[in-house]
Amino acid sequence: MSAFLRRFLRNRGAVAGFGILMLVVVVAIFAPLLYPTSPWMMVGRPLLVPFSDGQFPFGTDMLGRDIGAGLAYGARVSILISLTSTVVAVVIGVGIGAVAGYYGGVVDDFLMRVTEIFQTVPQLAMAVVLVAIFTPNIYSIVIAISIVSWPPVARLVRGEFLSLREREFIQAATVIGLKPLRIIFGQILPNAMSPIIVTASLMVATAILTESALSFLGLGDRNMMSWGFMIGAARTMLREAPLMSILPGCAILLTVLSINLIGEGLNDALNPQLRKKGGH
C-alpha cells in the first residue's frame, strides 16, 4: 500500500488534481454554511460584475442571484450525482461483465449483444431522452447516467475476466476445488480491481460532464442549482455578461480535469509494470 502511495505522490499532476478536488469537495460539503440562503434567492442588484463587489465577489446574475452561492451549491450537485451514478454503473457493469466473462459461451454472447445494443444509442442522446421521459429530477438523472455509462465497464470487466480465467492461478483455484463464486470474488475480481478503479475514476469525470450537459439543456433537477444550468441561463447574456457563463464553466473544467489527473495517477500507481519496460 505504501509503495502505491509513494508512486501516486510522485505524480505531480495527480497530487495537484487531488488538491483541487478536495477543495471542491470541501466547498460542496460546507455550501450551506458558506451561503446560508438558497442559491435561487434574489439577494442583490442584478448583473453585478464578478470581482467588483465585496459582498458578492463572484457577482450576481440577471435576477440578482449570487453566482458564488450557485457555484458552491453546484459543486454539491456535481459531486453527488457523479459519484452515485458511477457507483450504480460500476455495480451493474461489474455484475454483467463478470458473469459474461466467467461463464463465456452462450451467456457471454447474449450479455454482450445486450451491451452492444446499449452502446449503439449515443450516450448523451439516450441520457437526454431518459431524463426527459421520466421528468427531470435527481433520481432520473442518476438513473439515466448510470444506464448510459455501464456498458464500457461491463466490457472491461468481461475482458479482464476472460484473460484472468486463462491464467494459471485461476486454473489452480479450480483444480484445488474452489466453487465458482469463491473464484470470482476471491481470486479474479481482486486482480481485476486496478483497471476497474481507474475506469471508475474517469467515469466520475464523464458523469459530471453529462450532468452539466443535461442541466444546460434545461433537463436538470429544478430544485437544485447546478453549473450546467447556470451556463444555460447565462447563455442569452453571453454578449453582455460573458463572465456569468465563464465562471461555472471553469468550475466544471477544473473539477473534471482534477478527476482525470487523479485517474492518470491511479493508473500509473496501480500498474507500475507499464512504466518500467525493458529487458534484463
Binding site: T120, V121, P122, Q123, I133, L209, S212, L217, I246
Partner: protein, 331 residues
Amino acid sequence: MTFLRHAVLRLIKALTVILSVVIANFFLIRLAPGDPAAIMAGEAGASDPEYVDRLREQFGLNEPLLTQLWLYLKGVVQFDWGYSYRMQVDVLHLIAERIPATLLLMGAAFIFSILLGILFGVLAASARHRPGRGWLDSVIVGISLLLYATPLFWLSLLAILLFSVQLGWLPAYGMETPGTDYAGLERAKDIALHLVLPTISLGSFYMAMYVRLARASVLEVIGMDYIKTARAKGVPWARVLRRHVLRNAMLPVITFSGIQLGQMAGGAVLTETVFGWPGIGRLMFDALLQRDYMLLLGVFLVTSTMVVVFNILTDIIYSFVDPRIGAGGQK
C-alpha cells in the same frame, strides 16, 4: 465464400441491433407519464374528450400496444414512418430534410478530430522517445487533458464569444446566412464558414480522445520486438516510425473510431442546439420537448442505423489495414 457468409451474418446482426433499439425505444416512450393523445390535443389547444378520442383513433393509439408496435414496424419497412403531429409533416420527409446537415457536421468534426488527433498523438509519442523533446509531449498531453475536461457546450459558447462576438470573424448561428440566395460556390463558401465553429466545438473533445489513444498506441508499438528488428536493420528512427510503427499503431484507433463516431451523434445534440444548426440532433431535442413521439422514434431509428453502418465500415477498413483479418491477406 466465407466472405459472403460473414457479410450476410454481419448484416443480420446489424439488423437485429437496429430492431432491438427501435423496439426498446418504442416501449420506453410508452413508459412516459401521460396519455399521448391528450398531450397532442393539449398541444393543439383543444381538450374536449371527443377530439382526444378522434386523435387516438387517427394515430392507432386505441389498439393494443403490441399491435401498435407491429403496425409501426410494418410502416418502417414500407417507408411510412408515421406523421409528426407537431410539424404537420411526414416523419421520413422531415428526417430526410435534416439529415444532410448532421452528416456534414459529423463528417467534418470526425475528420477534424481523427486527423489532428492522430497527428498530435504520434508527435507526442515520438517526442517522448527523443532526448530533449520531452517538453513537446508534455505540452500536447496537457492540452489534450484540458480539452478532455472541457464541457462541449461551454467550449461552443467560448468559441462564439471569441470568434463571433469579439473578433467577428465567423458566423455563430445557423448553417447559412439568412436572406441571401447564394448558389454554387458562393453557397458552399457560406456553409463552410458557418461550419467552422460547430466543427471545432464538436471535434475538440474527440480530438483529445484520439490524441491520447494514438499516443498510447504508438508508445506500445514502439516497445514491440519488430521495432527493434527494424532498428537492427539500420533503419533510421523517422522511417521506423513511418513504416513500422504507424500502420500497426492505427489498428486500435480504427476500432475505437467506429464506436466514437456513433457517440458523436450525442454530442451533435448539444452543438446543434448551441449553434442553431438545422440537423437531426436539434430535431430530436425539439421532438422530445414537444412529445412528438413518432418523430422521436424516427430519429432513433436513423441514428442507430448510422451507428451500425459506421461500425460495419470500420470493420471493413480494419480488415484492409490488418492483413491478419482478411481482405489484404493472401488467399
